[in-house]
Symmetry: C2
Subunit: 331 residues, 2 copies
């Protein structure tokens, strides 16, 4: 870490030493990093006899319910009376925690902003943004070190979860030497990585497994196997008992097939409302494809919504990807 970062951490650690209570806040659509980071910091602060309350507005994914301290998280903010110190964790904007939160709510408060999103707008009175950290959990690890907190198994389980969820078990491009170094330190507490990996990555509900079966049954290849499209209708969701959230990641089964460059998952989320996820592997710009339908995202992962029947949407998407693949190949 560079000098400036060291100074920020050191000042933040000193600041946290002086407070007697704090509210911790994380973002909607909670994930392993925001929840694990919040709980790790909260448990550490409680160990230093601070009064801590935890807030998250979203539905907690079932597979995070094993995290130590998770039962303390409240979804609703108290009507008034809030601690003087608010610590926002893994939120690029304060509104990511609760929409319509600002600015009155933050007025007169000490707002600490700890995040690894490059898009963070620096909304805090104290801001520590490290876009080089694979997970906010890595930042919390360093902060606790600076605060002199001894690493416990409870804290380590939360930080380990934060890191492996945001790095896809050390397989995404954000993974750094530091990610592995921190994992080594966390494992020293004796945490059960087999169990945690099982809960986070292996276990599936029967509905999820049945939905995967439907997705693979509906899988179509086009363009000499360079395009793979999966369709999931209302009936597929109803017959399997799966809700829409359980379709997350299914588009990768299309993308990961040998020779496939363009992949799409079409989900009928309401009558005549089709949600589309696009993925590409090496060269196709699916952000451009999605933008033709009013959507967007990144070059290798994007999405859009289409009003129409599944049949219409399917035809539009296959044509658009076909065209994009052909134009790309010609150049």
């Amino acid at each position: 870490m560079d000098k400036t970062t060291n100074k920020v951490i050191s000042e933040l650690a000193k600041k946290l030493d002086t407070i007697s209570e704090a509210a911790l806040l994380t973002h909607i659509s909670p994930d392993g990093d925001c929840i694990g980071s919040m709980l790790a910091l909260g448990i550490a602060l409680e160990g230093l006899n601070k009064k801590i309350c935890y807030y998250n507005p979203g539905f907690l994914p079932v597979n995070l319910k094993f995290l130590p301290g998770v039962d303390k998280i409240c979804s609703v903010l108290p009507p008034e009376e809030f601690p003087e110190t608010l610590i926002f964790i893994d939120c690029a904007e304060a509104e990511r925690a609760y929409s319509g939160l600002c600015p009155e709510f933050l007025q007169g408060k000490t707002v600490i902003n700890i995040d690894h999103h490059i898009s963070n707008n620096g909304f805090g009175t104290v801001n520590w943004i490290d876009a080089g950290a694979a997970a906010t959990g890595e930042m919390i690890f360093h902060l606790l070190g600076e605060m002199g907190v001894s690493m416990t198994k409870e804290i380590a389980e939360n930080l380990y979860t934060a890191i492996i969820t945001d790095t896809g078990r050390f397989s995404y491009s954000n993974t750094t030497v530091e990610s592995f170094r921190i994992a080594a330190e966390l494992l020293k507490t004796g945490l059960d990585l087999v169990q945690i990996n099982n809960i986070l990555f292996e276990q599936k509900s029967l509905a999820q497994t049945r939905l995967l079966q439907k997705a693979l049954t509906n899988l179509e290849l086009h363009q000499q196997g360079t395009m793979a499209v999966i369709v999931l209708t209302r009936e597929d969701f109803e017959e399997t008992g799966a809700d829409e959230s359980l379709s997350e990641g299914l588009v990768n089964y299309a993308r990961n097939i040998e020779k496939v460059e363009a992949a799409a998952l079409l989900k009928e989320i309401a009558p005549d409302e089709i949600k589309v996820s696009f993925r590409s592997n090496t060269w196709l710009d699916v952000n451009q494809v999605a933008s033709r339908f009013g959507g967007g995202g990144h070059r290798r992962a994007s999405g859009c919504s289409i009003n129409g029947t599944m049949g219409q949407a399917r035809q539009m998407i296959v044509s658009a990807l076909e065209e994009a693949l052909n134009v790309g190949r010609d150049h």
Copy 2:
């Protein structure tokens, strides 16, 4: 590492310094650890101007063909004329490399035996067995350090592959603090972990994806959802174009379903010949179940073969697991 281990590594490093050529040998049914470890050590020794030849008797899995140096591996031993030094890597017995190899072949040779299997029978003239290493690749990492070899990207890609395949991307119980520490060092060479993880764990052939679809379509639950059984017939293999090796890992789709304790995959590998894989999650001893059919293995993973039709085998397996689950529950 303890003193004895340090002494062994140091003596081995000195020994390797004196040789001018060596043959490297690894085990049948080659995997990421044995191939990655062999290539890493071989590349390092070639860098020290040793003449190295590489032997492996098996069919190399397609997803290991990206490894630097992989094209140098020969499958057939030379009729005579073999170097004075033979280095066996990741082989619990010399016969694991080539059946019928001993003892004439090894006579008068310096046989170096580097392995992490606890069952290793110490067949070498120099033996270094470390059952605490998650992968033989970790041992090679330490050996190269002792030899003063500077880590290159080519060596690191081989060792990283060795470690992530044998630890299941740092998720199996053999993963240690050292596994993470070594990964951190390897990543410093700038290896592309996204690409390697894609090749090793994400990419699937169309046939493999179609076989998964068949497996999930044929998935049955019994005993209030505590038993999951998958059946794959000859027709399933023929229709998907998948060979039997592509069914590896499919039993986990049954095991990983919530509430499942006992899982089985039945494959018709020839007419009236059914190969069965058993898995359990927390308490059922599937070694005992497999042994009833003349098979065996471990408490949580075992297998057997049954002569009979798929219908007969299916009934026998479901009954045996049903009984085992009921007996277990009663106690």
